[in-house]
């Protein structure tokens, strides 16, 4: 269990800035996720921590000790890869034993620790199997046991679930989380799957173009996105781009104009709202104050437990609305005109210039 400090890490490749002054602290025992689209620098950062890349500048500290000058094999890091990286010519037990053998652990101790590690990942009976006899999910469990058995200071995982099918992905995801919590090992996890990140993490770091956009709990990342990028990358978001703001903070969406005092003095603002926050009825008491407009249904997407409508609001914006528990009688059809309420409490605002969040309520 170690605390990880990343200080002003920069790395560039010819023509690309992969890491732009990254500054992060990962607390001991934390499950910390690097989330972002491909090319955002998350894997580069992970590999820099592991020691397979060298940063151009900046420092990496484990528990206050600099480790970035240390070669990768001395850093005592457990690493789990997207493609499993199981040694194909070694049995399951030999794969797991490899790190211990490198540490010259006594044979008898190796045996008992390997057996325990395989039990923990529920592969107790498969110790003598060869990798090609295992499924992808089992191989990844071997990789997990192999990384954990050396009692690493930190555990790094590079999209470990993305080669698995949907059902296995959920199963192994939960197992990884339980295992990490019971061992209390500091874990840095890379993924491009925002749902996976939300489910598994204590905190999430959202990256784009080598820069950190937000570091926060899943709740805050989804509920209070720090930038417009985070807002649209995590979950889906209706964005009303570059609206002009009146002197008293008046904003017009569709046919409705509403004064938002917090915006007074600004020329332009970008507003946003999640589809599930859009209310498709005359506002009820619980919604509080809302922007009320009318929309025409363009498209209906039915997905069983939920449905989505795409609506056009007069000459104004198009937006997506989420309908939970849709049933036959109540499902709208294309061309229907529906009342649309956008509750102010659920509205997000972003500075059109930098994309930073603007608080609408004090």
């Amino acid at each position: 269990m170690a605390r990880v400090d990343l200080r002003r890490i920069c790395k560039s490749y010819p023509g690309v800035t992969a890491l732009d002054n990254v500054e992060l602290v990962v607390e001991p025992g934390e499950f910390f996720t690097l989330l972002g689209p491909s090319g955002c620098g998350k894997t580069t950062l992970l590999r820099t921590i592991a020691g397979f890349n060298r940063q151009d500048s900046g420092e990496i500290l484990f528990d206050g000790t600099r480790i970035d000058t240390m070669p990768a094999h001395l850093r005592n890091i457990g690493m789990v890869y997207q493609d499993y990286a199981i040694f194909p010519h070694k049995s399951v037990a030999d794969n797991v034993a490899f790190g211990l053998a490198m540490r010259r652990v006594a044979r008898s101790e190796i045996e008992s620790r390997v057996a325990r590690a395989l039990d923990v990942v529920q592969l107790g009976g498969l110790a003598t199997r060869m990798p090609h006899e295992l499924s992808g999910g089992q191989q990844q469990r071997v990789a997990l046991a192999r990384a954990m058995v050396i009692s690493p200071q930190i555990l790094l995982m590079d999209e470990p679930l993305s080669n698995l099918d949907a059902k296995l992905r959920v199963e192994l995801r939960d197992d990884i989380r339980d295992l990490q919590r019971s061992l209390g090992i500091t874990t840095i996890y890379v993924t491009h799957d925002q749902e996976e990140a939300l489910v598994i993490s204590d905190r999430i770091c959202i990256m784009q173009g080598g820069r950190v956009h937000q570091v926060a709990s899943p709740l805050d990342v989804y509920g209070r996105p720090a930038t417009l990028f985070v807002a649209s990358f995590v979950g889906s978001m209706n964005v009303f781009d570059g609206l002009s703001v009146g002197p008293g903070g008046e904003v017009t969406i569709g046919a409705a104009t509403r004064a938002l005092p917090a915006l007074a003095g600004r020329a332009e603002i970008t507003l946003a709202m999640r589809p599930e926050d859009v209310i498709l009825s005359r506002r009820g008491e619980e919604a509080g104050e809302a922007i009320e407009i009318e929309g025409t249904v363009d498209k209906v997407t039915y997905a069983g437990r939920e449905a989505f409508y795409r609506l056009t609001c007069g000459d104004g914006p198009r937006l997506l609305a989420h309908v939970s528990r849709p049933d036959q009688g109540r499902l709208a059809s294309v061309g229907d005109r529906l009342p649309v309420a956008l509750p102010l409490a659920r509205l997000h605002a972003f500075d059109p210039a930098g994309g930073r969040r603007v608080e609408l309520r004090p």
């Binding site: 397979f52 000058t69 094999h73 690493m79 040694f87 194909p88 490899f98 490198m102 790094l156």
Partner: protein
């Protein structure tokens, strides 16, 4: 920091690789390049050698002949190789594996053995010629262009065949079916879809046969008659006692290298624009032809392959005939083998020792450099990769001359030793091993090795414990291929040998020139058997994959 000072294992390997290539490749070739600008009598710098090579009819004829046999060999090889590949890949041909094995065997037998077998068949007293004369048919003379191009075609077509068939097998049949569904008939489909997809492979095969035909020394030396090519001309210029002219020989060599280089560059440029990635989701199944077409297809395939195995069979057969000089006498026996053991037993030992020694060196350095080429990100790795292409395009005669020019004076005076022959075999065949190691490494994901490092193995240890065991089949296949080509090497050995260090191919060549067909046949048979055994081993190691031979 102490860590900064520690020299990384792979840095050491890179330094070693650069030193070896610098000493055995760049230095000798620079020497020969420099020598080509020195006047033979005055020792003054001059362009006279090039003026003579490019200006005098004597050389112009050799240059023209080289181009004729190069293009002829290439076209012949394609004419045999492409149909064989297309037929065996697309249609049911009984005994396909057998044909492929025979083709590979034809490939690994040295070309000069083919040349000399054809002399025994179609030469002045050749048995086929005599047979045809009895029937009143006048066979064409084997000496000259006909013989050279015939030998090259039958010798080099397996390259085209192997490259084209492995490429044909990676074409997704859905692509061809899609073309059919869009209304393209069989011919349109072949020329519009299939051919462009296999073009890179076929052109690579064509290029290879052109360069090999251009570089080959033994064949034109044996069946060339009065057709002189650049390789034989350079050799004669250098070795003839009276007119020995290193400057002129060097200039001829440089012209030969430039010629090969131009072709290589042209081929690479034409392939780069057509780089098509295979997307193999579904494997194609061979189709059954109608009865008549099937018989025709079988006839074509078997005729091609049997014609190319004919020389080896003839050689083996004649090794058991009783002979007196060039004349075959009635009766069979082991006389020829007894004569070798009595007169030149050391050539067999030499060949075995030199090939094994050079292969040992090749395996160690080849797999390490293969790793650098496949995994290295530094500019030096790219440079190594290009430098290793040099031996492919520098003919053996030329590198042999370069070695003599470079290593007969201090600081490294090793001409006439076994060392120089081993080093020559080593550098000539190193690229094969590098390539096969690099190829198999590309199939081993880098993450596997990184995982080992993250688990506490140093980079060197991770390589030894994880990567090397996984590379082993590729390394062994590469080593066997190096062994086959090393033990059959003629041209450079012919320049570097002295009596003590004579090898089997050199002895065979000299025996053929002396008309000692019996001993030549016996020695050739030993070479063929050794090569055949190595081929069998490659098959066994690489799981019956013929493309391991290219």
């Amino acid at each position: 920091m102490i860590e900064r000072l520690r020299v990384d294992f792979w840095t050491l390997v890179m330094v070693l690789a650069v030193a070896v290539l610098g000493m055995l490749l760049i230095w000798p070739l620079s020497s020969i390049f420099a020598a080509s600008f020195i006047d033979n009598t005055t020792r003054e710098p001059t362009l006279g050698n090039y003026a003579r090579v490019l200006g005098q009819p004597y050389f112009q004829v050799a240059l023209g002949n080289s181009l004729i046999v190069g293009v002829g060999g290439m076209l012949g090889a394609m004419l045999l190789g492409v149909p064989l590949a297309a037929l065996t890949a697309r249609y049911v041909i009984i005994g396909r594996d057998f044909l492929a094995t025979l083709a590979v065997l034809a490939l690994v037998s040295p070309p000069f053995i083919g040349a000399y077998a054809w002399i025994m068949m179609l030469g002045r007293n050749g048995f086929v010629r005599l047979l045809l004369e009895d029937m009143g048919i006048d066979a064409p003379s084997i000496y000259g262009f006909f013989g050279i191009i015939l030998v090259f075609s039958l010798k080099f077509y397996p390259f085209v065949f192997l490259l084209a068939s492995s490429s044909l097998r990676t074409i997704n049949p859905s692509v061809e079916e899609a073309a059919e569904g869009l209304g393209a008939g069989p011919w349109r489909r072949f020329f519009g879809v299939t051919l462009p997809l296999v073009f890179p492979a076929v052109s690579a095969g064509a290029l290879l046969t052109f360069v090999l035909s251009l570089a080959d020394f033994g064949t034109p030396a044996i069946v060339g008659g009065n057709v002189r090519v650049l390789a034989t001309t350079a050799y004669n210029l250098f070795t003839s006692e009276m007119t020995g002219n290193p400057g002129l020989a060097s200039a001829t060599s440089v012209v030969l290298i430039v010629l090969s280089l131009v072709v290589v560059v042209l081929q690479r440029a034409s392939v780069r624009r057509r780089n098509v990635a295979g997307n193999l989701i579904r494997k194609s199944l061979p189709k059954q032809l109608g009865p008549l077409a099937s018989v025709a297809a079988h006839l074509v395939c078997y005729a091609i392959v049997l014609a190319s195995s004919l020389p080896s069979l003839v050689v083996m057969y004649t090794s058991f005939r009783k002979t007196s000089g060039p004349v075959f006498k009635p009766g069979y026996g082991l006389d020829s083998y007894e004569r070798i053991l009595r007169e030149v037993p050391h050539v067999i030992g030499n060949s075995a020792t030199y090939s094994l020694l050079s292969v040992a060196l090749i395996v160690v350095l080849g797999s390490l450099i293969g790793y650098l080429v496949a995994r290295g990100e530094s500019r030096v790795a790219g440079w190594l990769d290009s430098a290793l292409f040099i031996p492919y395009i520098v003919p053996g005669v030329v590198l042999g001359l370069a070695f003599v020019v470079t290593f007969n004076v201090k600081p490294i005076e090793i001409t006439g030793t076994a060392t120089i022959i081993v080093l020559m075999l080593f550098i000539r065949r190193l690229p094969y091993s590098v390539r096969s190691s690099a190829a198999i490494l590309k199939q081993i994901r880098g993450s596997i090795e990184e995982a080992a490092v993250s688990l506490g193995a140093s980079p060197a240890r991770a390589f030894m414990k994880i990567t090397l065991p996984l590379m082993l089949p590729g390394i062994v296949a590469g080593a066997l291929m190096s062994f086959i080509t090393a033990i059959n090497e003629l041209s450079s050995s012919l320049i570097l040998y002295v009596g003590r260090t004579m090898t089997m191919p050199v002895r065979i060549y000299l025996s053929v020139l002396d008309g000692e067909f019996g001993t030549a046949a016996a020695l050739s048979t030993i070479l063929l058997v050794a090569s055949g055994a190595a081929v069998y081993a490659v098959h066994w190691v690489s799981g019956r994959n013929e493309s391991a031979f290219v």
